[in-house]
Symmetry: C2
Subunit: 183 residues, 2 copies
């Protein structure tokens, strides 16, 4: 498997038009009208504080075997013709989160916050891809990209609304919610 | 906390003189007489296949709470005056390893291979620092740096000998064992 960095570049170009931006906590991102998604096998630039945001589709950190099977069964992938709406949600978590052990994080993430179970309930309508960036020295720890049909936009609001009320979200120190439409 | 990349650069310069190199599996590294250890807040170079090897001292992936307490109690850190011997062991694991879930990896790593328990038994004489590099698109997944007094060299051989016999090590696809002396 070739290692691939995924880049989300804000600017005037790109297939995805930004229709809304909400900074939920922490510093905002520079304004942008469009986002281009590209891939690179090499780490693209030495030092980055905003665009492009860079992440890696890495191995699973929390999912257990039965959960993975359930997720796979509802996995349709990105790029469905009807999924012309998207959201890009970059997130950073506090040092307190990263100082927890894996078992403590899993306990909060799933046992108490039901992050996987809640996400599963909205699949296959809402498809997602998580990109890791904490180890890359990026300003965020994760970039999550969601795709759904415009008619499922309200359901997507329900999903992120639920997640933001969880114990897990108390560890979120920066979160920006960008909504997009594919032209 | 500022994000820091640690670089191990092979060449003619550097405080650590290479006294021996064994390629246990996979491709060897280019020969070098010395290794310099430096730090950078930015990802240093766009594409790298050998030197410098780059890693990040990231959050713990497998250690549980009691194990972390036991490790901390025996943690003396790097740079002890008497620890003039070192080993740098870059390792890559197979896709089969990364396709396992966290719980399956933990089961192999500790329950069956006793990676933490075995390492603990050799502390504080042998101190180590793990650097992650899988998400950086590097040729290795981990770089582990060990420091010990020359009189503990045989104990260090015991430690790595034990680990290489474990079930975990069946997933290792590339491993190089460099031994070094601080001038």
């Amino acid at each position: 498997m070739t290692h691939t960095f995924t880049l989300f570049t804000g600017g005037a170009a790109g297939a995805w038009r930004v229709t809304g931006v909400r900074t939920l906590c922490g510093d905002p991102l520079p304004e942008t009208s469009r986002i281009a998604i590209t891939h690179s096998t090499a780490m693209p630039s030495p030092h980055l504080s905003s665009w492009p945001l860079i992440g890696v589709a890495s191995h699973a950190r929390y999912v257990q075997k039965a959960e993975r099977a359930a997720l796979s069964a509802r996995q349709l992938g990105l790029g469905r013709p009807e999924a012309t709406s998207a959201a890009l949600i970059p997130i950073a978590k506090s040092q307190a989160w990263w100082d927890l052990t894996q078992e403590e994080r899993r306990e909060i993430f799933e046992t108490r916050s039901r992050h996987i179970a809640q996400s599963l309930a909205f699949m296959p309508a809402i498809q997602r891809q998580l990109y890791h960036c904490r180890d890359l020295g990026q300003p965020f720890d994760f970039l999550t990209w969601f795709e759904f049909a415009p008619t499922d936009a309200a359901r997507f609001d329900d999903l992120v609304g639920h997640l933001r009320e969880t114990e897990e979200w108390r560890y979120v120190t920066r979160e920006i919610d960008l909504r997009l439409t594919r032209d």
